[in-house]
C-alpha cells in the first residue's frame, strides 16, 4: 500500500478582481500518493497553476484544507510555510525564476544555504553536473539559453532532495527539442530521487507520461 503524500479536501480559491471576487477553484478534493507522478491538465484559465501554487503553499486556499506530508498548510503562517518547503518541496516555473544577480552555481546552492547546509556548494556542483551543466556553474542566467536556464532551475528544485516536486509548465518557454530534453530530465530526476511529481501541462503527450492525469475545467475537477 502506498502512502498519501498530498491530500486536498474540498479546496476552493477566490481572489479579488477589479470587477469583484473571482472564483478560481472550487470543491477540489484530491489525494496523491508518494512517489507517483500526476499530470494536471486543462484549458487556459482552468485553474491548473493556481492549484499547483496551493499545493506549494505559495497561495492560500480560501476554503477547504490541504495536507502535505501530513501537515495542514492552512494552519501555517508565511514563515512556517517557507520553513516547511525547505527540503520537502522543489518548484519549477515556466519562466525559470532564477536570481539574475547570482551565478548558476549560486542559484542551485541557494536553497541548501537557506537550509544551513555546510556542503551546499559541493552538492550544488554535483547537481549541476547531473543536469549536464557542470561547466557552466560560474555563468549568470543572462549568459545562458532558455533550455540551460531551465536545467539550472531543475537542479535547484531537486538539489535538496525534496519529497514533492511541483512543475508549472516547465517547457512552456522552450522549443520542442529543449522541451523534450527538459521533460526527460524531469522524469529522470523524479525517478532517481523517488519524489512525487505534480506537473502542470497543456500537452496531452507530456501528461500521458505521468502515472495519473487529473483534468481541470472551470476551476473544478472534470
Amino acid at each position: 500500500m502506498t502512502d498519501t503524500i498530498l491530500s486536498l479536501s474540498d479546496v476552493g480559491l477566490t481572489l479579488d478582481g477589479n470587477a469583484g471576487p473571482v472564483e478560481i477553484l472550487q470543491g477540489i478534493s484530491l489525494d496523491i500518493e508518494q512517489g507517483s507522478s500526476v499530470g494536471l491538465t486543462g484549458p487556459s484559465g482552468s485553474g491548473k497553476s493556481s492549484l499547483l501554487m496551493l499545493m506549494g503553499g505559495l497561495e492560500r486556499a480560501t476554503r477547504g484544507s490541504i495536507q502535505v506530508l501530513g501537515q495542514d498548510l492552512g494552519a501555517m503562517d508565511e514563515d512556517q510555510l517557507a520553513r516547511f518547503r525547505r527540503g520537502r518541496m522543489g518548484i519549477v516555473f515556466q519562466s525559470f525564476h532564477l536570481v539574475p544577480t547570482m551565478t548558476a552555481l549560486e542559484n542551485v546552492a541557494l536553497p541548501l544555504e537557506i537550509m544551513g547546509e555546510a556542503d551546499a556548494f559541493a552538492r550544488a556542483e554535483a547537481e549541476l553536473a547531473a543536469v549536464g551543466l557542470g561547466h557552466r556553474g560560474h555563468h549568470y542566467p543572462s549568459e545562458m539559453s532558455g533550455g540551460e536556464q531551465q536545467r539550472v532551475a531543475l537542479a535547484r528544485a531537486v538539489v535538496t532532495r525534496p519529497a514533492v516536486l511541483l512543475a508549472d509548465e516547465p517547457t512552456g518557454n522552450l522549443d520542442a527539442a529543449n522541451g523534450a530534453a527538459i521533460m526527460d530530465l524531469l522524469f529522470g530526476l523524479q525517478e532517481r530521487h523517488g519524489a512525487t511529481l505534480v506537473l502542470v501541462t497543456h500537452a496531452p503527450e507530456l501528461a500521458a507520461r505521468c502515472d495519473r492525469v487529473v483534468q481541470l475545467s472551470d476551476g473544478a475537477l472534470a
Binding site: 501554487m53 525547505r86 519562466s95 536570481v99 541557494l110 543572462s142
Partner: protein, 835 residues
C-alpha cells in the same frame, strides 16, 4: 500646434504619476536656492538702501590714530552740508574698587553734538542725545544692555571709562549706524566727544579712529567728491567711504556666505539631478514600446525626441514654479524670525532676481540630467526597444557635446550670479569631485560585492544582499550618489567646525597669553612692568611699541595695484620698531642696533611672498599722515597662530623717531590668576585696555558656530533631496524586491531572512556613502585647516561616526519602508505575474 507638442499634450493627460520624484527633487533644489537668494538679496538691498544710514552720512573721512588738523577740518566743512565727528576706540569700563572691582571691555564711540546725522539712536529709557552732556557734575554715557547688566548698572549709577567717571544714563537699543557684522571685541558705549577730549584717551600715540561723517550738498556726485577728497588728503592717511558701500565688511561677508550657501543649494540640485535622471530613465523604459510603435509608424527620431522634450519642459516648468512657490512661502513665513535675527533693519520680501537665478539653475540642472537618458534612448534601435533588457548604450557625440555645453553654461551662470569666481569654481570643483568620488565608491562597492560573494557562502541573506549590490542594474550608484553628496557637505562642515574648535582649544591654551593689553603709554611702561612683576602671578610679559600705518605703495606704485586685495593692504596694520629681530630671519640681515641711515623694513616672510615682495623692494607706509619709504632688508618667520605679539612690518627705530606711540603687551598667566591681574591693571592704569584672549577666542568660536549652522541648514536641504531620491529609487525597485522576496520564500527563506538581506544591502550602501562623505569631509577639513587657517588638522571621530550612522539610518529607512509590501505579498501572485 506641432505634431510633437500635440502628442506630448496627450501623453501628459495621464497626470504626473511616475514624476513625483522628478518634481520633488526639482522643487526642493529650486526652493533652497531661491530662499537663500531672497534672504541674501534682502540683506544686500538693505545694506545698499540704508547705506547712508549705516555709514552715518553720505560719506565718511576716516583718520587712523589722529583727528583732522584745523585746516583739514575746514576743508571738510567747506565741502559738506553737515559734518559730524565720531571717535572710535576700545577701552575698559570699571565699577567699584579693590577686590569688588568689575571690569568690561567696550568699543567706545565718542560723538559730537551733530551725531547722528541720519536716523536716530534708540535708547531705553528714551532720553535725548543731550543726556550725554554733563549733569550733576558728571558727563553721561550710554551702554549696550549687556554691559549695563554685566556691571550691574542702573540709570544714574556711576561707571569709570578709562579711569574717568561717567553717569550711566540709558541702554542702547539700536544704533542707526551699526552693521554689527564682523567680530567686535566688546559691546558698545557712547559718550560725548567733549567728555574725553581732555582725557589721556586721545593722548598722542593712542589707538583710535576718527570719522568725519558728512551730508554732502544736494546734487553732489559721489565719484567727484571722492576724487576731490583723495586729492586733497593724498599722503595724509585718510580713507574714504561712501553710502554706496557703507559696510564693506558686512557686504563682503553677506556676499560670500550667501553665495556659498547658494552653491551648497546647487549641490542639492545636483543630488536632485540624480533623481531626475533616474525618473526620466524609468519613464523612458515605460515608454519604450510607445517609442518603438511611433518609429514603426514612421515618426522621425527628431519628432520622438521633441515629444519627450516637450513633456520634460512642461514638467520642469511645473517643478520650478512649485519650488519658487515653496521658497516664497518659506521666506514669507520665516521673514519675522530672520528679520529679528539680523543686526540691521531688513525687510524680506519677494523679488524677481533671486527667483530668476533659482529658476535658471533649476532649468539647467533638469536639462543636463534629463538629457542623458534621453540621448541614450535616441541611440537605441527600434527592434531593441521591444525587448526587455535593452542593453546600455552611450549617447551620441552631439548629445554629449550639448550636455558639456549646458554644464559650461551652468558654471558660467553660477560665476555670473555669485560674482565670486574663486569661491564658485572651488565649490563647483568640490561638488564634482565629491560626485566622482561617490561614483567611484559605488563602482568599487559593486566590484567588492561581486568579489566578496564567496565570503557569503552559507549566509543566504548576505549572499542576496551582495548579489543585489553587485548586479548590473544595481541601486548602488543612485543611492550612494544621492545620499553621499548631502552627507559629504555635512561631513565637511562637521570636520572643519570640529577641527577648528579643537585647534583653538588644543593649541591655544598652551601658547596663548591670558591678556593682550593695548594703549600703554610710553611713560607708563617701566612702572607697568614693575607692577606686573610685583604681582608674582605673571609668568611672562612681552611688550612692543605699537603704531598703526597703511601700506600705500610698493616700489612707488599704489600697493593695491601691485599686490591686489591682500589682507595686509586692507586698512591699517600694526607697525613696530626694534633693534633686534623678535623672530628668526629667513632672509637678509637685520639693521645694527645703532643704525640711523635711510629707513629699513623687516617683513613677515610668508606675507611678503604672498604680496610678491622680495629683499630690496621699497614699501611706503603712511603713519600718522606721514609717508615713510623703507627698503626691505630682511624677512622674518612670523607665527600668528600663537596669539602672541607678531608684526608683519618692523622698521628700524630711527625711521619712527619722534612718532608718538603706545605699547602693547601680552601677559601670560594661569587662568586662576587672570581676574586679579585685570583688577590691578584696571585700577592702576585705567587708560590701558585689556583684551582677554579667551573671550576673543569665544567670539570667534561663536561666529564659526553661526556659519556652521547656516551651512548645515543648507546641507540639510541637500540631504532631504537625497532622501527623496532614495525613496524614489526604493519605490522604483519595489517590483524587483517583490519578485526577490517571492522567489526566496519559494526556496524556503523566512521573512526575517529576507528582511535581513534588504537591511544589509541598505546598510552597506549607506555606510559606503557615509565613508566617502567622511573621506571628503576629512579632505575638506585638512584643506581648510592646513592651507587656509594654517593650523594642524586632527580628524574628529564623533561627527564622522554620526555621518556614517546617519547614512545607514537614512538608507535603512528608505529601503525598509518599501520592503514591507514585498514581505507581505503572496509569492504565487508575484511569480505568476512574471510568467
Amino acid at each position: 500646434m506641432m505634431l510633437s507638442a500635440r502628442i506630448a499634450a496627450r501623453e501628459l493627460r495621464g497626470g504626473i504619476r511616475g514624476f513625483r520624484v522628478f518634481l520633488l527633487c526639482l522643487m526642493l533644489g529650486v526652493a533652497a536656492i531661491a530662499s537663500v537668494g531672497l534672504v541674501r538679496g534682502a540683506i544686500r538691498e538693505a545694506l545698499s538702501d540704508q547705506g547712508a544710514m549705516l555709514l552715518g552720512g553720505d560719506a565718511q573721512y576716516d583718520f587712523t590714530y589722529r583727528r583732522a588738523t584745523p585746516e583739514e577740518r575746514a576743508w571738510i566743512d567747506d565741502h559738506a552740508a553737515a559734518v559730524s565727528e565720531v571717535i572710535e576706540f576700545r577701552s575698559m569700563l570699571t565699577r567699584g574698587a579693590g577686590d569688588a572691582l568689575e571690569t568690561a571691555l567696550t568699543q567706545v564711540k565718542a560723538v559730537d553734538g551733530a551725531h547722528p546725522l541720519i536716523g536716530a539712536l534708540v535708547l531705553d529709557p528714551p532720553v535725548p542725545m543731550g543726556a550725554l552732556g554733563p549733569e550733576g557734575g558728571l558727563p553721561g554715557i550710554f551702554l549696550d544692555q549687556i554691559l549695563a547688566d554685566r556691571l550691574g548698572l542702573a540709570p544714574g549709577d556711576t561707571v569709570q571709562l578709562a579711569g574717568q567717571p561717567f553717569a550711566y544714563r540709558a541702554a542702547i537699543t539700536r544704533e542707526p549706524d551699526s552693521t554689527g557684522a564682523g567680530i567686535g571685541l566688546g559691546p558698545r558705549s557712547i559718550v560725548a566727544l567733549s567728555a574725553i577730549e581732555a582725557t589721556p584717551i586721545l593722548a598722542p600715540g593712542s589707538l583710535y579712529e576718527t570719522e568725519y561723517r558728512v551730508i554732502l550738498p544736494e546734487g553732489t556726485d559721489l565719484d567727484a567728491a571722492k576724487t576731490a577728497a583723495e586729492a586733497r588728503f593724498e599722503g595724509a592717511g585718510m580713507r574714504w567711504s561712501d553710502s554706496r558701500r557703507a559696510a564693506p565688511g558686512a557686504d563682503r561677508f553677506v556676499d560670500r556666505l550667501g553665495s556659498f550657501l547658494v552653491l551648497v543649494g546647487l549641490a542639492g540640485l545636483a543630488v536632485g539631478g540624480v533623481g531626475i535622471s533616474a525618473t526620466v530613465s524609468a519613464w523612458i523604459e515605460r515608454k519604450a514600446e510607445t517609442v518603438a510603435t511611433l518609429r514603426a509608424l514612421g515618426a522621425a527620431g527628431g519628432t520622438i525626441r521633441a515629444i519627450f522634450l516637450w513633456q520634460l519642459a512642461a514638467l520642469s516648468a511645473l517643478g520650478i514654479v512649485a519650488g519658487l512657490g515653496l521658497a516664497a512661502l518659506v521666506v514669507v513665513l520665516a521673514a519675522g524670525v530672520i528679520e529679528a535675527a539680523l543686526p540691521i533693519p531688513v525687510t524680506i520680501a519677494l523679488s524677481a532676481g533671486p527667483m530668476l537665478e533659482a529658476a535658471v539653475y533649476g532649468a539647467l540642472v533638469a536639462a543636463i540630467f534629463a538629457l542623458w537618458p534621453l540621448a541614450r534612448m535616441a541611440t537605441t534601435r527600434s527592434g531593441a526597444l521591444y525587448r526587455a533588457g535593452r542593453g546600455r548604450r552611450w549617447p551620441s557625440w552631439p548629445a554629449l557635446v550639448l550636455m558639456a555645453v549646458l554644464v559650461a553654461v551652468l558654471l558660467a551662470a553660477a560665476v555670473a550670479f555669485s560674482g565670486l569666481v574663486g569661491l564658485t569654481l572651488g565649490t563647483f570643483g568640490g561638488v564634482v569631485g565629491a560626485l566622482v568620488l561617490l561614483w567611484l565608491a559605488a563602482f568599487g562597492l559593486r566590484l567588492l560585492a561581486r568579489r566578496a560573494a564567496h565570503l557569503s557562502r552559507g549566509r543566504p541573506a548576505l549572499r542576496a544582499a551582495l548579489a543585489a549590490i553587485g548586479a548590473p542594474r544595481s541601486e548602488a550608484a543612485p543611492v550612494i550618489l544621492s545620499l553621499g553628496l548631502g552627507l559629504s557637505v555635512l561631513a565637511a562642515v562637521g570636520q572643519v567646525d570640529a577641527a577648528l574648535r579643537s585647534a583653538i582649544q588644543r593649541d591655544l591654551p598652551d601658547v596663548a597669553p591670558a591678556y593682550f593689553m593695548i594703549d600703554i603709554q610710553n611713560s607708563q611702561l617701566p612702572e607697568f612692568l614693575t607692577t606686573l612683576d610685583t604681582l608674582g602671578t605673571v609668568d611672562k610679559v612681552e611688550t612692543a611699541p605699537m603704531l598703526r600705518g597703511v601700506i600705500t605703495e610698493i616700489n612707488g606704485q599704489p600697493a593695491r595695484e601691485v599686490a591686489g586685495e591682500h589682507w595686509v593692504l586692507r586698512g591699517d596694520r600694526g607697525v613696530t620698531y626694534a633693534t633686534t629681530p623678535r623672530e628668526a630671519l629667513t632672509a637678509g640681515t637685520f639693521w645694527p642696533e645703532d643704525y640711523a641711515g635711510p629707513p629699513q623694513a623687516s617683513f613677515a616672510a610668508k606675507e611678503a611672498q604672498e604680496l610678491g615682495l622680495k629683499l630690496g623692494d621699497k614699501i611706503t607706509v603712511n603713519i600718522l599722515g606721514r609717508d615713510i619709504e623703507a627698503a626691505i632688508t630682511s624677512l622674518r618667520d612670523v607665527d600668528f597662530s600663537t596669539a602672541g605679539i607678531g608684526f608683519v612690518l618692523t622698521l628700524n627705530p630711527a625711521a619712527l623717531q619722534g612718532a608718538p606711540h603706545v605699547h602693547i603687551a601680552t601677559i601670560y598667566a594661569a587662568p586662576e590668576d587672570e581676574a586679579a591681574i585685570l583688577r590691578r591693571v584696571a585700577q592702576e592704569y585705567p587708560n590701558v585696555t585689556a583684551i582677554r584672549v579667551r573671550d576673543a577666542i569665544a567670539r570667534v568660536s561663536e561666529a564659526l558656530g553661526t556659519i556652521a549652522r547656516a551651512t548645515s541648514l543648507a546641507a540639510g536641504v541637500t540631504l532631504l533631496t537625497g532622501f527623496v531620491v532614495l525613496i524614489g529609487a526604493a519605490a522604483a525597485g519595489e517590483g524587483a524586491r517583490n519578485w526577490e522576496a517571492a522567489m526566496l520564500k519559494t526556496l524556503g527563506a523566512t521573512r526575517a531572512t529576507i528582511l535581513r538581506s534588504f537591511a544589509l544591502r541598505a546598510a552597506l550602501m549607506g555606510a559606503a556613502a557615509g565613508l566617502v562623505a567622511i573621506g571628503f569631509g576629512a579632505l575638506a577639513g585638512y584643506a581648510v585647516l592646513e592651507w587656509v587657517m594654517e593650523a594642524q588638522y586632527r580628524f574628529a571621530p564623533l561627527p564622522a561616526l554620526a555621518i556614517v550612522l546617519g547614512g545607514v539610518l537614512v538608507t535603512l529607512t528608505a529601503g525598509l519602508v518599501f520592503a514591507l509590501r514585498p514581505l507581505a505579498a503572496r509569492p504565487a501572485r508575484i511569480l505568476r505575474a512574471r510568467e
